[in-house]
Symmetry: C2
Subunit: 421 residues, 2 copies
């Protein structure tokens, strides 16, 4: 006997900063839903597309295009930085979402983001009940910041971690070869406003006091100028050169971002995203060493060409699991990654309640930082190393470029009047 | 009848800024020389190692280690920024080199660098004759700047070109997905103090007015603030976002580097290597758009993980050819790349006299830039596209990192007194 096709549609939305593998999650969602015969809409530009009734009909995309999402960086349907206010402050927005869901028979809502998005998904599931509309909400984890609670790690992080470790290694080989007559101190600035997960991953580039990176500067530790300069000097004198990896979120003793405290541009504005030049100027001023610095910015989180296979696989798996959970009738949960072994690395996906994830932030354990605060411990290596393992390169064209997917992104006809807050 | 082994040793030295593939040239040199039974010394830290009599015995390295050089970035024997003065100004340095060569029976000198190094190799070959010492000097091309005369392109350039095009594409996919509520203008700063070859390569990321990069800023064109801002505005209004690639060598109307003219750091120093933040501040100030900028610095020239196969193959081939030329008795020549076809791309190696290369600089043809100066033409694409074709990824270890070679770099016992200039 043929099993009945579940009724209704599934809506998938991407939220917040995109990653090298968030589209792999989209591929997991769409392929799993297609296998079950469930039509998938995607919100254009994240939750804003849901509010504006800008819904993309993914059935217009070919099987090959959806498969190609698995190796395409960025957010294929558009994402946004937009946090819904609390239910009390703006109930109208939540009600609008339910209206849109009802109009398009959306019965499953999959929200792919961080802890804000987990909170939103949780609230929508609650309001659905209050408004007597049957909607299953699943949070799907994504963030390069690796700061979600419960899950062992966050899809997106492993790839930026691999990019950071490889870049640290490669640039250090460059600096090492030239240090006799050229640059002695190289500073790499990495993302991480509030937590040093990405900076910590740079530590995988080498092991031992003489291997790069020689110094990591974490947002978890207040910047100690004297200790920093002393370690730079000692490293240059012993090794001949010094690689520093600095988190953009590094704070001075007054609790200010070092990036903002130091440099002002031609117009007198403080320059954001620039802790590296501040540190470089300090090294030059106090120690006289020639320096170079790099700030890869978006390059690090979009570098699909250097994705971690572990990360890409997990990103796909959480997408697929989210569909399984939704169609099984689960609500207000997130598929999280559970680690059962460090080496060999073993993991599985399990559901966790959104209430345990929403608005929480996972901090880096204090045991991951060395006593002097400039490096990572063996415990950190055990945790981090599996996350950058394996390669999953995109296919390349004859033109030498990765063949990334381009979607049609066909919008569904509107059924409602425009929404005004 | 067995052919007699050529007598004497070959000395190989790396010069100037290193690249993702200069070690592939070293592998070509050493493997070709080993095949002929010729022992190879490598100068430690380039020409300084020759002056200081710091010579590395490459016979101490395993076959596997030399083969691994082919996929290892940086300069495995050390390089330096050190230009010998003119013969008149410091004849003693040249004589010292000949003394060192004589002491170690160096009969072939292969100098792997740019046009300065070609000049040095040429002068040493001349002085050898004057001092009645039989030395064959071969220049071996290397520079990410792609500014050597005669050769169609320079080993090292194709890989940084590929890195730049791929990074431009990937970061643009990121920006495109978020532009509705976040960054609208993304600025990528690339290397190229005097010529815009690397910036031009970014143009391969896309084709057509709406594809990234929307604006390339070349050192060949004086920065026109009004035209730049107008194009940024028009692009954001039409496409929704705008990717800008800026060469570090961008000049203002007064002929100053824009990077130096704009920003000063906390100590009042002008910040070098920072045209991107200057442009970003300008965009914010005049147009009000949210921006991000990236400055990959050494990451771009050491990114062996994303090397162009064409480039890696050519780097190896010039090393091998240099040995063939040297052992065939040629002198004061460089193996150069000759292109016989754009599509399919065909190339071969030929010898060219160093006198035609020394101290010359190849400029980018005016026909490569679009009329408005913000893009590349079809002629530029025909030239550039083959150089980024093909992938040659390094092997990765179980730890997720590329397995780059580490050499023993065993120094040969000194035979001379220390050199003092």
């Amino acid at each position: 006997m043929k099993k009945a096709r579940p009724e209704g549609r599934l809506l998938y939305a991407q939220s917040g900063g995109v990653t090298a593998v968030i589209n792999a999650t989209a591929a997991g969602v769409i392929e799993a839903a297609r296998a079950k015969g469930v039509p998938v809409y995607a919100a254009h530009n994240g939750i804003l597309g849901a509010l504006r009734e800008e819904l993309i009909d993914t059935s217009k995309e070919s099987k090959a295009a959806i498969a190609a999402l698995r190796h395409t960086p960025g957010g294929a349907f558009g994402s946004c930085r937009y946090k819904l206010k609390s239910l009390d402050a703006n109930r109208a927005e939540y009600e609008r979402l339910i209206d849109v869901f009802r109009a398009h028979d959306i019965r499953w809502f999959l929200y792919n983001g961080g802890n804000d998005s987990a909170d939103t998904a949780l609230k929508i599931s609650q309001l659905g009940k209050a408004m007597n509309y049957d909607i299953r909400c699943i949070g799907v984890p994504k963030t390069v910041d690796n700061d979600l609670a419960v899950t062992d790690c966050c899809p997106g992080f492993g790839s930026v971690a691999k990019y950071t470790a490889v870049s640290t290694l490669e640039a250090s080989l460059d600096v090492a070869s030239m240090a006799d007559t050229s640059t002695k101190v190289f500073i790499l600035e990495v993302m991480g406003r509030h937590a040093g997960w990405i900076a910590a991953a740079a530590g995988l580039a080498g092991e031992g006091a003489d291997a790069p990176p020689h110094i990591i500067l974490f947002p978890e530790r207040t910047f100690d100028e004297a200790a920093f300069l002393a370690k730079v000097k000692a490293t240059v004198e012993r090794v001949g050169w010094c690689t520093v990896v600095a988190s953009e979120g590094l704070l001075n003793a007054e609790g200010q971002f070092l990036a903002e405290a130091g440099t002002r541009d031609a117009f007198g504005h403080s320059q954001l995203g620039g802790v590296a030049p501040v540190l470089a100027a300090l090294v030059k001023e106090k120690l006289g060493y020639k320096y170079h610095w790099a700030l890869p910015d978006y390059l690090q989180r979009s570098a699909r060409h250097l994705a971690s296979k572990t990360d890409a696989d997990q990103a796909y798996a959480v997408g697929k699991a989210a569909v399984d959970y939704a169609l099984a009738g689960m609500n207000a949960v997130m598929p999280v990654i559970v680690r059962s072994s460090d080496a060999p690395y073993r993991w599985k996906i399990e559901p966790a309640p959104l209430s345990k994830i929403a608005n929480r932030e996972k901090k880096m354990p204090a045991s991951f930082l060395t006593r002097d605060g400039f490096g990572i411990t063996a415990a950190a290596r055990r945790y981090l190393s599996p996350l950058i393992q394996g390669e999953a390169p995109p296919p390349y064209g004859k033109n030498g470029l990765p063949q990334y997917a381009t979607l049609k992104n066909t919008l569904v006809a509107r059924k409602l009047a425009p929404f005004s807050k």
